[in-house]
């Protein structure tokens, strides 16, 4: 089978973000794990090449000699995607991105999220638009978290974001894709990669996102909060590939009634 695209979807079908090619379409977060070892094993099982990290003060999660997150997820191996998680203003998000760029020696790919509400963690759209515009001007490659509003998604693309990442459902809710219709509209109109970010709960949710034509999926809690995170990471790895291949393969048309798989002719009974 090794000659078939079906078994090497990666090489045949790369994800390209800001000009860089990736073979995996699953992006993962690094929060909520038991420890760095579990983080490392889950990320490895997920097959992800892009991992998102938060930016915080050093006196947090930093005991003398304790390994640092980037020790177990070396930037030489993974594309590190610093995010602005927890920022509720454009200013905080921009400041976080600038620090992250310094931290990563000029690496300018960032995940922008400007939250508007602590209960739902929905994005603040006006503030997101403002921050995106400034960050793009400053030369950042912005992957932006947004709602599933197709017009806002288009505007973020027009502002120069390198990827638009609508939520499937609230961050950490695991409710799956609440509005496939809007995700489909966003995909239809997009010229940059569309990744579902947040809300995926289990493997089939990820497959559905890919079958809708999304270019990738970013998730954290669905893996980290599973009973067995490493096994769920493997499940998500396969689900994203399955959904992508199903999208490329072109699903059968739905029929309202039955249609036999076996020939009628040749019946001896």
């Amino acid at each position: 089978m090794s000659a078939l695209p079906s078994t090497e979807p990666h090489h045949a079908d790369p994800l390209i973000i800001a000009g860089k090619r990736y073979t995996s379409r699953l992006l993962v977060g690094t929060g909520k794990y038991r420890d760095l070892e579990e983080t490392r094993r889950a990320v490895e099982a997920s097959g992800a090449e892009i991992v998102t990290v938060a930016i915080r003060r050093t006196n947090i999660g930093q005991n003398a000699g304790e390994p640092n997150l980037l020790d177990v997820l070396p930037p030489e191996r993974y594309t590190i995607l610093p995010n602005t998680a927890g920022c509720y203003t454009a200013e905080d998000a921009i400041r976080t991105c600038r620090l992250a760029r310094e931290l990563l020696d000029g690496h300018d790919l960032v995940k922008l999220e400007v939250l508007g509400d602590q209960k739902t963690l929905f994005p603040d759209i006006p503030a997101t638009l403002k921050a995106a515009e400034i960050l793009v001007k400053e030369g950042f490659k912005v992957m932006v978290y947004t709602t599933d509003d197709p017009l806002i998604a288009k505007r973020l693309e027009e502002l120069g974001c390198v990827a638009v990442m609508p939520l499937a459902a609230p961050i950490g809710s695991g409710l799956g894709i609440r509005n496939p219709y809007n995700i489909r509209l966003i995909v239809e109109n997009a010229k940059v990669p569309i990744l579902v970010d947040a809300g995926v709960g289990t493997a089939s949710d990820a497959a559905i996102a890919m079958e809708l034509g999304c270019d990738g999926v970013l998730m954290n809690t669905a893996i980290a909060a599973a009973r067995n995170p490493v096994l769920m990471a493997s499940a998500m790895n396969k689900a994203v590939q399955a959904g992508r291949e199903a999208y490329l393969a072109g699903r059968m048309p739905r029929k309202l009634y039955g249609s036999a798989s076996s020939p009628i002719e040749g019946s001896f009974f």
Binding site: G31, T39, A54, I55, R56, R98, E102, N220
Partner: protein, 66 residues
């Protein structure tokens, strides 16, 4: 002289520079980035950037998040 590091007060000797602060905090060889009074200090300037009294220093790094 007193400065503020990540929101906590800290005593440092006069003419202390950023490199010395990081060394003293055992962060010299850690991957982190640094702001003084909301201005980013490039790694190349650590040794020459002298801290002033009441400076607000933020030292950040990457942690698990999504």
């Amino acid at each position: 002289m007193q400065i503020f590091v990540n929101g906590e007060t800290r005593q440092v000797p006069p003419d202390c520079n950023v490199a010395q602060l990081l060394a003293e905090m055992r962060l010299a060889d850690k991957r982190c980035a640094l702001e003084v009074n909301r201005e980013i200090v490039p790694r190349s300037a650590y040794a020459t950037w002298v801290l002033q009294n009441t400076d607000q220093v933020e030292i950040i790094h990457a942690v698990g998040g999504g």
